[in-house]
Symmetry: C2
Subunit: 480 residues, 2 copies
């Protein structure tokens, strides 16, 4: 076997093992009997350790040196080798002890956080957060591509972006969005529509079917926190949840559909390579947000949604339904936030976590900074830490640099949607008929098929002709 | 880390990976969208290759040598090391090329067999069978513990048994069982009872609940071919299937419960070692057959079954239901056979496959030998090869030596049931009340907790005081 063949075989093995890990995660969240949890954690731990070992071996380094000396690689192979080099170098720089310490601190942090949140007691959580931060800084220091200590953390989720770049993108958003939120929140309040769970279930399946979901390749299940996974481009699994709240199940299902569709339309030639996945967290989020914000929340799509609810036995006026989908209300909890306030929750978290990582904000001062931020950006008063600084799991798990992708996804989605409509024409008429095939095809051609071949901002430039930009989202927010 | 710690860590890793493989197999047969099949095969292939590599490494040999020099091991560690040595030695003796050739011939054999069975054309299948046999003989020759070429094949499923020993066990069965079948088949025919699928579903869940199945640790799903898997001792998954045929769903569910219960009651100290599984195919089958033949088919349990069907909306007379459960009718197809004719299907297959492996029966003569055997043992005429020699997948898949376990399981179940009742007293009264806790506890203590620590016949001797013996099953057959 040539060095390239050996490298590709190892990458295929890692892709296959990663798929099995995703299956185990899917099962854990949808099917597994509760008492299976402890063994599942051990199984996933064994898989992770083995994958790390297989992904960081000296053999890969030797293959890479040999292959890199060969100037005559094809297009795909060149990207395979480029990304394999990047991933291997980054992983090799992290000492095993540090990696293990981060995993341990993450598990302990989450356990303490659950307790602290239940008691709304930030002081209980503070030492675990200090520990996670110290380890994150140590981790960052191992990766010498980090100009700012935050940059190397960000790179795990969105390679190529920097704290400075995210700041430059978020600044105009933080300026222009609050007044638009205030305007939208001042509209007459949309009234809740009672939607029995059975009708929601029928509508979720009906709407997903409109979007192209077929049993041959898809599963739709229920989980406490909606998510989606692709076990391959032909084995796509989305979940949603059903609550009394009504439209959440539909929005979550369409959101998760967007994630899975991305993975399903990656070029077949990238399957079982290191390129066969969505390129970054923010681009992934853009694909879910595009379907959630620009299709599910589109006024022209409301009649389709209403028709599927009617098929499920509930008559709802499409306009009343649409009003619910686009209702804007500043609130305390990120995961319950509407499409306009959501990015502001993120802007604040980015500012705070960047300051924590660089050490300009002390952990002890975090709750006050949080509450100030909520007042400034969203105009709400935080009554307690459980509904404030303790609401998210990310920092407890040692994840810093993940939050920006949630808002970047909203911005990129709006950019891509504008670009798509400028190429295909307005989609209103097609959406009214429930026709989304042109959208799917456009995304497949311009975004999905590339897999990891283009990093976040390179992809955005290629698709939209410019860098990441808040303006299209702000236009969407003005119109919504 | 000491050599023993290193060895145990590797065994734990292999146990964890094996669990993930079982999860993938379970998912494939219950949940996976059909289009996921090709990728799943690749994922499982990658896992198998990696596990083989991790299970046959030089490092294990070095650890074993060091540990074996240590005379001071505890009881469990002594068995861990003994079985690790046996497994490693056997695997190392098989050249990688031969292992790969067997996998390939198995896949090709199954593809050809499906086609040949559909056309009822044995000649189409014959070359693939020749190939599988040649490879099986080559495989057997690698394992020098084989006195008879069949013995080494048998050892993969039931270590320690030999062709001669199985023959000695089956001979009295082949003599004494046919007249008992004839007698039972001459009884007035039990009439089918119409059982709507909804009632069956409710009864399956109700009966399993009686047997101790709780959602905390168990899942019950549907699959075309019922099976069960333990992903850990606390994550137990059984399936059944629902047809118009009525009682099959209940029998299959109870059968699969028996398999899973075995795995669930293995001593916790054996978890994530090489001892943490049922010891052999025949002992595993004995645990499913014990619940199927001796509990589900027990006249005293029929009222419990009838009550669960009644709860599902169908009133059935317990005696009529029991008559259905124990109906005896010689027939063509093994998987549809009743509790008395079933072992005779197996006796014939054992005779044929042993002769094929040793070369005293030519592949070309197999169909005629099959049809003769069916006439001799079961008194039925085989109308075509699809319903004859082509009905089973085992030989197409290159599995020789697997069949005996199906009949040995029936015999061992009867032996263990007799022994249990001699210790605990007759279970009739308890079964009438649906109480099976004493049976579960007895099996846990005497059979299950040992895991792989005792091989088939050593376990049977320990549990029943004697070797495997057909007499208890023949007594069961006389009484049934």
């Amino acid at each position: 076997m040539s060095a390239l063949e050996s490298l590709r075989e190892r990458l295929a093995e890692l892709a296959d093992l990663s798929s099995l890990g995703r299956l185990a995660a899917w099962d854990q969240r949808t099917m597994m009997p509760p008492a299976g949890a402890a063994s599942r954690a051990q199984q996933l731990g064994a898989l992770q350790r083995l994958m790390h070992q297989r992904a960081t071996g000296d053999d890969i380094g030797a293959w890479l040196e040999e292959v890199e000396a060969d100037g005559d690689l094809g297009d795909v192979d060149r990207d395979v080798v480029r990304l394999a080099r990047r991933d291997w170098d980054r992983r090799r720089r992290i000492p095993a002890d540090l990696a293990a310490a981060r995993v341990k601190a993450s598990a302990e942090g989450q356990a303490v956080w659950q307790d602290a949140r239940a008691r709304s007691d930030f002081a209980l959580f503070a030492p675990a957060l200090e520990r996670n931060l110290a380890l994150a800084r140590e981790y960052s220091a191992c990766l010498d591509d980090s100009g700012h200590p935050y940059d190397a953390l960000l790179a795990d989720y969105d390679y190529g972006l920097t704290a400075a770049r995210v700041q430059a993108i978020f600044d105009p958003l933080a300026q222009a969005l609050p007044p638009l939120v205030a305007e939208a929140a001042a509209r007459p309040e949309a009234l809740d529509v009672p939607l029995p769970v059975e009708a929601q279930q029928a509508a979720v399946l009906g709407v997903l079917r409109q979007l192209g979901v077929r049993e041959e390749r898809w599963r739709v299940d229920v989980s406490p926190h909606p998510f989606s996974l692709a076990l391959s481009t032909s084995d796509l699994r989305v979940t949603t949840r059903y609550t009394g709240a009504g439209v959440e199940s539909l929005l979550a299902a369409v959101h998760e559909y967007g994630h899975a569709l991305y993975e399903s339309q990656i070029a077949p030639e990238l399957a079982r390579t290191n390129l066969g996945h969505g390129t970054s967290m923010s681009v992934h989020e853009s694909q879910s947000k595009l379907w959630e914000n620009h299709v599910a929340r589109h006024p022209a799509f409301a009649p389709v949604m209403a028709a599927e609810l009617a098929a499920g036995g509930v008559a709802v006026d499409p306009e009343a339904l649409h009003a619910l989908f686009v209702r804007v209300r500043p609130s305390l909890i990120r995961v319950e936030a509407d499409q306009l306030t959501y990015p502001l929750h993120i802007v604040m978290r980015f500012e705070l976590e960047r300051a924590l990582v660089e050490g300009t904000l002390a952990v002890a001062d975090l709750p006050a900074a949080w509450n100030d931020g909520m007042r400034r950006l969203l105009g709400v008063e935080v009554p307690d830490d459980a509904r404030g600084v303790l609401q998210d799991i990310h920092w407890a798990a040692g994840s810093f640099g993940y939050f920006p992708s949630y808002a970047l996804g909203c911005l990129i989605a709006a950019q891509m949607w504008e670009r798509m409509e400028s190429e295909l024409g307005a989609q209103d008429e097609a959406l009214r008929r429930g026709e989304v095939e042109p959208i799917r095809a456009w995304l497949g051609e311009h975004v999905h098929r590339h897999g990891r071949r283009l990093d976040t901002e390179a992809l955005v430039e290629r698709v939209t002709g410019g860098p990441i930009d808040a303006e299209p989202f702000l236009r969407y927010a003005s119109a919504a």
